[in-house]
Symmetry: C2
Subunit: 186 residues, 2 copies
């Protein structure tokens, strides 16, 4: 599949699923109802029985990433679904109206030149694999859903990555954020 194709994904929280929820921390804004398990599915398929909430988003084209950055990310990155990646995190985020009222060059400047979002993320490759999903145009409760997978021994690294991003200028525009930690149930 060509990079940039639109694929809809849904994340179902509920009584069970492919992943067991080990923690749910609300960092900003309204929380989500508790869930014991989580599953990821193609958005077109029906949710599993016992689903309490569903979050959806589309994996799609690049919004801020430059060709040079994308080449570096692709060279260092790792795929989802690796056997050793028995831990995961789903981090739903929304940004403020002030963020969305900015022009493209202003958002890019905060995102990379000031906050080094791509550069920081790159330091944690290939250990932390990720996929970004966009929910804003869909009218979803979260603008972004980021899905991360890593081996249990890399959870400390992952926490460090989040701490650095959360200290950045960009995070001043985050109005809602929930950190859902998971361990593979199968």
């Amino acid at each position: 599949m060509t990079y940039g194709a639109r694929v809809l994904y849904a994340f179902d929280g509920g009584a069970g699923g492919d992943w067991a929820v080990t923690g749910m921390t609300t960092l900003a804004g309204e929380s989500l109802p508790a869930a014991r398990g989580l599953s990821v599915r193609p958005g077109e398929r029906a949710p599993a029985a016992g689903t309490v909430w569903t979050l959806s988003g589309v994996a799609s084209h690049l919004r801020y990433t430059l060709r040079e950055e994308f080449a570096a990310l692709s060279a260092r990155g790792s795929p989802l679904g690796r056997g050793e990646a028995r831990r995961a995190a789903l981090i739903p985020i929304s940004k403020s109206e002030a963020w969305w009222a900015l022009a493209q060059d202003e958002r890019r400047r905060i995102y990379e030149e000031q906050s080094r979002h791509t550069s920081i993320g790159m330091e944690y490759l290939p250990q932390v694999a990720r996929r970004l999903h966009h929910g804003r145009d869909l009218g979803e409760p979260f603008d972004f859903l980021t899905w991360f997978e890593f081996a249990p021994e890399h959870e400390g690294m992952f926490d460090e990555l989040l701490a650095r991003l959360r200290a950045s200028e960009e995070w001043r525009y985050v109005s809602r954020e929930i950190d859902i930690r998971l361990t593979r149930a199968l």
Copy 2:
């Protein structure tokens, strides 16, 4: 309302509506079934009886426009719904997979530095008012729906604007385009 807020719009083609269809020309890709009239409505409201097809999209944040360009556009632009604007056009467009596989800087370069999309559009302000709607993330048949309004005496200007854009490098990536011309029915 702050600029950048997400608003869903739907365009219903059918037997009648607020606008009478005076022409439908398919420039690239598959055509749409014929319609005699068209109405624009907030996306949450139900379609009118007699609707043959509905196209939806969200008016949302800026994707390529820089702050400086947006300031110039805002200074020269005109609102929709002017009394003299008794002509309109709805132009649904999709772009190719090759376009969506490009990085942000490559798309911006083609869009503005090579094709001068914003600069050309600016020459036709304030006569031609417009609103852009995004359908791609929604999984709609068209990536973009652009709605234009102008006075009858400015239809020639509008045709010139389209001819210039269609001759640009950016238009090599247009895989589907339909030009629907309208006159106010009320």
